[in-house]
Amino acid sequence: MGDKIGNRRGCREPSVRCAAAAAIAAVLALVGAARADDYPSRSVHVIIPFGPGGVTDIVSRVLFDAMAKVLGQAIVIENRAGASGTIATEFVADAPPDRYTLLVDDPSGPLATGVSLYASRRIDQLTRLEPIAPFGTTGAVLVVAANFPAQTLADFVALAKQKPGELLYGSTGIGTPGHPNGALFDRIVCIDARHVPYRVGSQGVTDLISGRLSFWIIPLAAVLPYIQSGQLRALAAAGEHRLRELPNVPTVKESGCSNYDVSSMYALFAPRGTASDIVGVLKRATDQVLNDEDVASVSAKPASN
C-alpha cells in the first residue's frame, strides 16, 4: 500500500511538476510574445554620439526614417556629442533596458578608443551594451592638398622621414577618430607627424586645402567633393580594399606599407539586459530596411568594395 502510494506519488509528482513548468513556460512565452508584438508602443530614442550633419548622423537619419515606417512608431534621433562619443555611450549604458533608448556607434573606432581615452570613466562597453546589428560602413582616405609635393604614398612617407616633426595632420579634437588614426599611421610607417586638433572640422579642411596642414586621414564622405573638385588629392585608401568612388587610389597596403584599416562601421546597440526578443525585433527591422536599395546605397556609400 505504502509502496503503491509512494509509487503513485513518484509517478504523479514529476507530471505535476512538468505541468506546472509547462504552464509557467507558456505564460512566459506569452508575456515575451506580447512584449515583442507590442513593441514599440511609443517613440524610440536613438542616441548619436556626434553632432548633427556628420557622416554618422546623415546615415543614421536615412536608416531610422525607414525603420520608423517598418516599426510603426517615430524614432527620435538625439545628438549627444562630446568626449569622443563617451558621453553618449555612458548615457545609453546607464539607461534602463526598457527598449526605448538605443545607441549608434562605431565599434571599430570611437566606441573602442573610448576605453583607453577615458579610462577613468571605467565604462565597459563589452558588458554594458548589447550589440544589435551593424548597418553600414564608411571608407577613409589619406588626403593632401592638390599641390602637395608627394604624388604617391611612398613619396609621402619618404618626405615625412626627411622632415621628422614637420608634417601636420588634422582631426576634429583630441581623441576624436582622426587623432588615433594619425597616431596609428605614424606607427606603421615609422614617421613623426604632429597632430593639430580642430574644433570645427570644416576649418581643418580649409587649412588642408591651403597647405597649412599636411594631411588628414578622414572618412571619404567628408572630403569627396573636394577630391572631385581637385582641391584635395587622395594618396591612399585607408582600408582593406580600394574605394568604389576612387578606384585608381591604392590602399595603404598596396602602396608598400603594412595593412592599415580605419574604415568606420555603424552599428546599433541597446543597454545590456534588453530582452532578446526585442533585440530580435530590432535586428529584423534593420535587415529589412537595408534590403531597400535607397537605404542600402546611403549606408554603404562611400564604402569599401
Binding site: 573606432g109 550589440p131 546589428a133 588615433p180 597616431a183 533585440v279 554603404a300
Partner: protein, 31 residues
Amino acid sequence: MTGSAELVSEILKARIDQWAGVINAAGISAE
C-alpha cells in the same frame, strides 16, 4: 550591409585591444 551582433562584438573586442596599444604608445590622453 547586414551582419550579426556577434560580428559587432568581435570587432569591438579586437579594436579595444588594438587601440589601447596605439593610444598608450602615442601617449594620447583625452582626460
